[in-house]
């Protein structure tokens, strides 16, 4: 069986205007979502306490809320988590109460009102730690971008580096936009996923760029848009297969990995979908517009010719 054997080159570059418009619109929407709704940062970044409590019977959320109000925790957020048997309690950082004691106090109160409550997990993060993680996360994003750009600039050409990074930042912003829009929880694990996508999505652009470079050497007569179209078409089958493979793995995580990996897998899913789109339909047009040309890749030959002419 053979999928995706495309015989003729698809003229992607002639759609460039449309595809970049679509990207631009999604990008702007994502930025809007981010600036209006903001990321729903998890306890890793904001600091505070999260407790997961399991009951052998469906949990009574209002009762839990009452119990917490009784011990003076009015700002506790209580919600079911995954199944109806599990609840999640979130408490913001309390400067006046010793952080380590808080979770104990909450659990004591909860088991007093229902002795079958079982503590599954507690996460407490101090505000200082949260802030550091936030800063380190932003720094990691920056370092990854610079590192990738430097590598691409050396291995290919600066135009490719710029195009790849724009395309990939576009993916990252859209993932973040989705998280802001749907108010999904943004945790440390999700950040790891986002950064992994940054590396992964560049893969995609690199494979296409590699082909473009090769085509410049092979297809002497073709115009630049034709060369890019050919490169994309030739790698199309690989693109689809590779991404479906990774997506299969991610879907397994999404459905079987449990709550802990849910948002991580979701971030990867969005990243993979937009990764294909951006590397094919965003990165390549940008390379084209930045003025990529054959001369940039076959300099040595040209030099020889020039030198020969210059000689008397």
């Amino acid at each position: 069986m053979e999928f995706f054997n495309i015989k003729r080159d698809i003229p992607f570059m002639s759609y460039a205007r449309v595809t970049t418009m679509i990207s631009l619109v999604t990008f702007i929407l994502a930025v809007a979502a981010l600036s209006i709704k903001h990321l729903n940062l998890g306890v890793d970044f904001t600091g505070g306490t999260v407790m997961e409590i399991n009951y052998p019977h469906p949990a009574e959320v209002p009762k839990v809320r009452d119990t917490l109000t009784q011990i003076g925790l009015h700002d506790a957020a209580v919600q079911t988590f995954g199944t109806s048997h599990d609840i999640l309690v979130r408490l913001p950082v309390k400067p006046e109460l010793s952080s380590a004691k808080l979770s104990e106090k909450v659990f004591q109160a909860l088991s007093a009102s229902d002795s079958s409550a079982k503590l599954q997990r507690v996460e407490f993060v101090g505000p200082q730690v949260g802030k550091e993680l936030y800063e380190n996360g932003a720094l990691a994003l920056l370092v990854v971008c610079l590192g990738i750009m430097a590598y691409l600039a050396i291995r290919f050409e600066w135009r490719f580096a710029v195009a790849a990074i724009i395309a990939n930042m576009h993916d990252i912003v859209i993932i973040l936009g989705c998280f802001a829009f749907f108010q999904w929880e943004f945790s440390l694990t999700v950040l790891a996923g986002v950064l992994a996508i940054l590396g992964y999505s560049v893969n995609e652009s690199v494979v296409v760029f590699d082909r473009i470079r090769e085509n410049f050497r092979k297809m002497r007569k073709a115009s630049v848009p034709e060369i890019i179209d050919n490169a994309i078409t030739r790698t199309m089958s690989r693109t689809i297969i590779t991404h479906s493979m990774t997506q299969l793995m991610v879907l397994a995580m999404l459905f079987l990995g449990g709550e802990a990996l849910h948002y991580f897998a979701l971030a990867l899913t969005i990243g993979i979908i937009f990764g294909i789109y951006s590397s094919v339909l965003v990165a390549s047009p940008i390379v084209l517009w930045l003025g990529v040309s054959r001369e940039q890749f076959i300099k040595p030959e040209k030099k020889e010719g020039e030198e020969a002419e210059a000689l008397p």
């Binding site: 990738i148 560049v202 493979m245």
Partner: protein, 605 residues
């Protein structure tokens, strides 16, 4: 064209074999065990303890699955958890307070595997359950404490040289101000302090009709004092954690002022927090040699005395009145006596402690003083030396037929009692054991099902080459798990996610190769040449695309913390193993299948 030289095939075969060997321990599961370790630095776990453990168990007809002694602990394996619990209680009773007997799980892989260093991956707390604390040491308080000590030191130094001063005080900004009546005495003092306090930055200032010297710590001394505070806190924490009876706790420095404490398998977090926060104290008291020790042994303990047993085993009557507490000790270090060159412990006392100590030793020459460590409400006499002469200047030397090791231990104990600076829990993560097991199952299942789905798809799409890709992918997983096991990396849930993600991404290299081969075949090149070209051409692309992901992984490792780091390690290693397995292993398989035929009509792709 498509033939590997023999050595390359051998390399592949050896790599696969090693991969298999080092992956193997992960499949043997764990066996209940009891771990015996020392609770105090003065108690050693050695061959004789091992013998004692073995005897105790055989006397009570408890059968074991092997007893091992490593550097710091004895591990006894059992067939089931009932025997384990029974043995734990029995051993704790028999061995007493000096030892920590903890429940543990030990890999049940056969001994020949363990002896060649093949151990299973270490499971993170999110997979096995337990508590993680991150504690922040209050460095400002540590500096204040040190400055307080210097304040006393300055005072006693000036007093000793009979230089009159009008007042010594520590200011809020951690400088010490010494006032004098005139410039001459200040000059004298300056000379003296420059000589005796090399760690201080001294400055002569004037103001309000006063002649002053302001002193602050130089940066090196500040750094040293903070490092000391952190080290002492870690030592103290280690002692306290020992009492919880936790198997394999992790207590590590993180950054300049933080300590990570991980207690696998701990359920009672409230108790853990209480013990971490508790203080142990050190006391110096006088020994009562006037009363009859034999009478005391028969129950007639004189009023105001307490009966203790010294480390060497002889009983000792100690006065209840405390001469000095550990608060006055600023440092303790093992060393050698200048004259007799026998091992001793040097103790530095702060200014006030030095004065008290000088007065006490002057009044009690020829008598003995006892140094006690009080923990859990129980006191233990570390040593009880005879006072030979008055000891001034705050530098005390404890001697008394010690070995070098014992001197080390006593110095450690003297430092270990109290915290050098207060600490605060700034991060806490607790995972219940059932949730840990659930996390493992979920992570494992998603890996397995994802893998099966990919294999089916590859074989459908690429037929024989799909099979090769699946085998290469299996080799990749094998290598990855083996490398993680060799490195003894901690496997966490994000780490399992990273394995899944790298497996998904690793197939990319295979797809690139297979697609390239198909394309070459379409262009009408002979099968052998197409296979060769496919591998050669795809290699550059594989390298480029993986290096970018590798860059991302490295940055994650560098800037990440905790689970993100675990994720990054797996991601980076996964990239390396996937390049090897996709390029070398799969090529070697293809070469073995197709390489022999000189004329190949058709390939299954």
């Amino acid at each position: 064209m498509n033939r590997y030289p023999l050595w390359k095939n051998i390399v592949v075969a050896v790599a696969l074999l090693l991969g298999l060997l080092y992956t193997l321990p992960n499949f043997f599961g764990e066996m209940p065990a009891v771990q015996v370790s020392s609770a105090r630095a003065t108690v050693k776990v050695d061959q004789s303890t091992l013998q004692q453990v073995e005897e105790t168990l055989s006397q009570n007809q408890i059968s074991t699955r092997g007893v091992t002694l490593d550097t710091a602990s004895i591990k006894v394996r059992f067939a089931d958890t009932d025997t384990q619990l029974k043995a734990k209680d029995l051993l704790q009773n028999k061995l007493g307070n000096g030892y920590v007997v903890a429940l543990n799980l030990i890999s049940s892989s056969p001994r020949w595997l363990t002896s060649m260093g093949a151990l299973p991956m270490y499971l993170g707390l999110d997979l096995r359950g337990g508590v993680h604390f991150l504690l922040q040491v209050d460095m400002k308080a540590a500096l204040v404490k040190t400055m307080d000590r210097y304040t006393g030191d300055i005072r006693s130094a000036l007093r000793e040289k009979k230089i009159p001063y009008a007042g010594v005080s520590r200011l809020a900004d951690q400088t010490i101000e010494v006032k004098f009546r005139d410039a001459v005495t200040r000059g004298q003092a300056m000379n003296e302090l420059l000589k005796s306090m090399p760690d201080l930055l001294l400055k002569e200032t004037e103001g309000g009709g006063d002649f002053k010297i302001s002193a602050s710590m130089n940066p090196q001394a500040q750094k040293k004092s903070q490092e000391f505070a952190l080290q002492q806190n870690i030592t103290t924490l280690r002692n306290r954690v020992n009492e919880l009876g936790v198997a394999e706790p992790i207590i590590q420095q993180q950054g300049a002022d933080r300590v990570v404490v991980q207690l696998p398998g701990v359920q009672d977090t409230a108790k853990a927090k209480e013990i971490l926060g508790r203080t142990a104290t050190l006391e110096i008291r006088m020994v009562d040699d006037e009363h009859d020790i034999n009478a005391a042994l028969h129950g007639e303990i004189p009023f105001g005395d307490e009966l203790y047993t010294e480390r060497k085993g002889s009983p000792l009557l100690v006065k209840k009145q405390v001469v000095l507490t550990g608060e006055y000790i600023s440092d303790a270090a093992p060393g050698f006596d200048n004259q007799t060159s026998e091992p001793v412990v040097h103790i530095s006392l702060d200014g006030r402690g030095a004065r008290i100590f000088r007065d006490t030793t002057r009044d009690n020459v020829g008598k003995r003083m006892a140094i006690l460590l009080i923990e859990k409400g129980q006191a233990e006499v570390i040593t009880a030396p005879v006072i030979r002469e008055e000891i001034g200047g705050g530098r005390v030397q404890i001697s008394g037929s010690m070995t070098t090791q014992e001197a080390n231990d006593v110095a450690l104990l003297l430092r270990a009692g109290a915290l050098a600076a207060p600490m605060e829990i700034i991060e806490e993560r607790t995972v219940g054991p059932s949730m840990g097991a659930e996390n493992i199952a979920k992570g494992f299942n998603s890996n397995i099902y994802g893998f099966i789905a990919i294999s089916l798809f590859m074989m459908m799409n690429y037929r024989f080459f799909g099979l090769i890709s699946t085998l290469a992918l299996s080799a990749n997983v094998l290598f990855l798990v083996a490398v993680l096991s060799i490195l003894q990396a901690t496997l966490t849930l994000p780490g399992m996610a990273a394995i899944a993600l790298t497996v998904g991404m690793a197939i990319d290299s295979n797809v690139l190769i297979n697609e390239r081969i198909r394309e070459e075949l379409r262009n009408g090149i002979s099968p052998q040449a197409a296979i060769n070209a496919g591998y050669e051409r795809a290699f550059g692309t594989i390298l480029d695309s993986n290096i970018t992901t590798f860059i991302a992984g490295t940055a994650l490792f560098w800037l990440g913390s905790g689970p993100v780091r675990g994720f990054a390690v797996v991601l980076c290693l996964g990239i390396l193993t996937s390049i090897f397995s996709a390029v070398v292993v799969s090529r070697s398989l293809v070469n073995l299948t197709y390489g022999r035929k000189a004329r190949l009509e058709k390939v299954s792709i």
